[in-house]
Symmetry: C2
Subunit: 386 residues, 2 copies
């Protein structure tokens, strides 16, 4: 029996942050439990799980997929782990969607989780840098801050983007993060604070960089028939686009775009039969503020080179053209690698359901999530409708 | 457009072994190139890839999925990595099948690869042990040899299985490995040699343990329509079963079976509409000789407890009831974690096509591959037909 549509019928989210109180399996359970309650089903109603965890070394645990799968009560059922660096969570959502559409499952649990803070910021930065090319780029000092700094200076040089515009992205995301009870850093910041924070890698200072966090997020996907039975407000995953790019950023044609975003977005828009103008709300990959500005452009929310102006004009605020990262984004909500993509799906689900609390926008019909792995080596774009 | 069947249209395999001459991406390319040649298509004809690599730490490379995907020429196209410990390759095949059946792709490249030998046997054993529960079992000394030794002694105690029967599995797999030009150890051994090799963990001696190897394997999957166009001899993937078990083996109800095999096999047989009696050839997970004996039973090739007798009677030799591991198995061919499951699929494909060289059996119609992750935390069973 084949399903026409795949629906999201349950979502659950841990508090992101320094979570020394919980191991990765415990965090996963903390997200799965509310997802089941949200859906009003039991763990036994789920056919299979897909687990998104990005890196072995953070938890010093290989094969954390079945570790989580067993701990949340899925023993005997099928599972595998999916990984796509910082886009792991969205890759897991894609795999979950495919399992349902393929007929292998009717109800799928997708869990994203990561524990990172216990290794400290420097070690975490080093470990993450190993997701880039460890033969030809990492040994020469390329980390994620330095890679995105190269993109930022290229964008500033070519389009006149300013450090102030970068900081404005941070101010916006902290504004919304302060309204999100699950966010790692729930505090508003001023433009002055953002501009004056310590330099990490020019032109990116502390407030241009996302957080290193622990956390987990879980969603339950179902066939159209099951989704309508389980939920009064299923949210439909109607478009999926994915793409990749060169492993080495030194091989890229341009540093002012992430081509994988353009390719993935085009596929997702086509499959969903929409244009960028139809998108009412989006979560985009703001691992660094420059990444959000580039995403505005590559997703087609504004012209190439006008991302800086887009944030300056508050077009990505609630009330603007496309409200973006209303959950605080990676910048303020946090970025536990495996959890991030699933968490993006959850924010869109909540906005489309009208359950986003203080940061709820009016009458959103179409949502989009955009998740980058590394510096665009992976990109996953999902489109959602009520 | 949806496909009824998914076909295997191309296969490629590196020599398994100590491959200090090649990095993981180079090994992957060495498998992908012959797979494309076998299919008679170009890399540009492929829609998406699924990459199976089991562990970050062997290659000191996170996110080896896109590293391989880019290196083999798939830039821009979608990819993600799949992981399920020692069953990573079979999980990747399952994910590739689902991508095609879901309509997200028509032609999928599945690559499994691992580099392990450079870290040395002790370090490799330690790293692999971290795929088991790192909080509650690994710290107390549980490695894979010791886990399977527990299963072996339990099987000996309960069913009278002998050390000689264990060694006979090794003799058989070396017999066939000696005929496989891609095998790590291409040499026959005598029963006496197997029995007298050094003790690793009682009752398992050196020849009861599979090899630590480098290697890669690649297959190309396609929709029924494309498969018939691309290949004169497509092999159909007609049954998929998967299951899991408790993360801790101390929580298992029994040590004389791997329950996940029983559950996964039942699903795969049902989906393929066959019984164990219909299977003409199989590759099973012989990470340790006891694992192959237990697999005979759990897959239904013989009654529980009669696995020792099954090998003693040569029922798993060519000419016996079900020829098993005609490629040499993990024991003689080698076990580069991510590559193993894909390699199993390749042996079955070759046997069903009639291209298995010296070890070819007559007129096989139905094949099966069985791949275990860890000590049965994961199991994937695939059924194939001509």
């Amino acid at each position: 029996m084949r399903t026409e549509k795949v629906g999201i019928v349950g979502v659950g989210h841990t508090k992101f942050g320094k979570r020394a109180d919980a191991t990765i399996r415990e965090l996963a359970h903390e997200a799965v439990k509310p997802a089941l309650e949200d859906a009003g089903i039991n763990i036994g109603d789920i056919d299979t799980s897909v687990i998104g965890v990005a890196a072995d070394e953070f938890a010093a645990q290989l094969s954390s997929g079945v570790l989580i799968h067993d701990y949340v009560g899925m023993k005997d059922k099928p599972t595998f782990r999916v990984e796509a660096a910082c886009a792991t969570g969205s890759a897991a959502v894609r795999a979950g969607w495919a399992l349902i559409k393929s007929g292998l499952a009717e109800v799928v649990l997708v869990v994203g989780a990561e524990t990172m803070t216990h290794v400290g910021t420097l070690r975490a930065t080093e470990l993450m840098a190993r997701a880039q090319d460890t033969r030809w780029e990492y040994p020469f000092g390329l980390t994620f801050p330095s890679s995105y700094a190269l993109m930022a200076t290229a964008h500033m040089h070519k389009f006149g983007t300013t450090r102030e515009q970068l900081s404005l992205v941070s101010v916006k995301n902290h504004t919304y993060g302060a309204m999100n009870p699950y966010a790692h850093l729930q505090k508003s910041i001023t433009l002055e604070e953002a501009m004056k924070s310590i330099m990490i890698c020019y032109p990116l200072n502390l407030y241009d960089c996302c957080l290193i966090s622990d956390g987990a997020a879980a969603i339950i996907l179902a066939t159209e028939e099951k989704a309508r039975k389980i939920s009064d407000t299923p949210i439909w995953l109607i478009g999926l686009g994915a793409a990749s790019d060169t492993m080495m950023i030194s091989e890229r044609e341009s540093l002012t775009e992430l081509k994988a975003t353009r390719v993935a977005a085009e596929k997702a828009y086509k499959m969903a039969r929409i244009t960028p103008d139809d998108v009412d709300v989006a979560t985009v990959h703001d691992c660094f503020t420059i990444a959000e500005i580039v995403a505005y452009e590559d997703l087609g929310f504004c012209q190439k080179g006008e991302g800086g102006k887009f944030i300056e004009e508050k077009q990505s605020y609630i009330g603007g053209k496309v409200p973006i990262n209303t959950d605080g984004g990676l910048k303020s909500k946090g970025h536990p690698l495996g959890a991030t993509g699933v968490s993006m799906t959850i924010e869109i689900t909540k906005q489309l359901r009208g359950e986003a609390g203080k940061r709820q926008l009016n009458g959103a019909e179409i949502g989009l999530s955009h998740n980058i792995g590394e510096t665009g080596q992976y990109c996953f774009v999902h489109v959602y409708s009520r």
